[in-house]
Symmetry: C2
Subunit: 181 residues, 2 copies
């Protein structure tokens, strides 16, 4: 079974975590939520999520897909050195990464933005540009292994394009019914 | 383009509306949120959703798919006579219906539960049974045109089965990429 990793922390934008988390489970992925210290986290809207793992102990080689949602969580995630190692391992190996909203803040800290085409929450656009990124104001931007979006309203297009990327990479398994029927 | 209708109201369980709403858009459906009076509604966790239509003016023949999420909204939706007409039109014509949590309250008021196999939030289990339903404690229950689940944690299985039903009914169109690639 393919494995997805979600990096988040307190202050996450609730639906930006819940949608891709449930979406990956729906698609048959074993989906792990990792937080700083492995503690339960609370979203801006009050949803609580129990972590499956501590970011400090994540081995990125165990995962096929990385998702970094937004809210105020990325400013906490980027302070964990291992989170940046995880991001670099994904980019070094061209493995699929989905970011939305403030998620690109973690990419900036990991030093992987230079020369890449992406979008983000408008409020951190200038940070993306200062880090060498080519910032685009579009609902979803696909650049190689990276699929980025701006805010919750982009979620349907964000995940549609991410699923297409996973399909191209052979990571989407047909459901039993699709096989037989 | 196939069309999906979401019936909800103030007090909706946020992710039970947001997930299927975004999921149907992701799948290429024109997705309409209808509320009592057509006003903006606020979820239990504070998400606000602008309605696209007033339930009182919905013509169910214009829609292929019906979704009734939970929270405290269904107790408000069931008070709108047209909502019950909509539900009956869907059941009379064997069109796909997804309900979760307290959503089955609207089915009870519409008189379509008798003899059907379904699940719901545990707190309204006895109402489902009193209305003649066969209540099952499973994450997702598929009975003909009806796909039901219990609470937000069931969402991935709920929507996976609903998508399979839509696929069987020929309502899921391949994306352009799936056609060409």
């Amino acid at each position: 079974m393919a494995r997805a990793l979600v990096l988040t922390a307190d202050g996450f934008e609730d639906v930006e975590v819940l949608y891709p988390y449930y979406r990956m489970v729906e698609a048959g992925f074993e989906t792990i939520v990792a937080t700083p210290g492995g503690g339960e986290v609370t979203g801006k809207h009050g949803y609580k999520i129990k972590a499956d793992a501590s970011i400090e102990e994540v081995d990125p080689r165990e995962y096929d897909v990385l998702i970094i949602p937004g809210g105020r969580a990325p400013e906490r995630v980027r302070l964990v050195a291992r989170a940046l190692d995880v991001v670099r391992e994904f980019f070094d190996n061209d493995k699929p990464v989905a970011v939305i909203c403030h998620g690109p803040q973690v990419l900036i800290s990991a030093g992987v933005v230079r020369g890449r085409r992406l979008t983000s929450w408008w409020g951190v656009k200038d940070d993306v540009i200062a880090a060498g990124g080519q910032w685009v104001d579009e609902p979803v931007v696909v650049d190689g292994n990276l699929v980025s979006s701006r805010y919750p309203g982009d979620i349907p297009l964000w995940m549609r394009e991410f699923m297409r990327l996973l399909d191209r990479r052979g990571l989407l398994k047909p459901t039993p019914e699709q096989v037989t029927g």
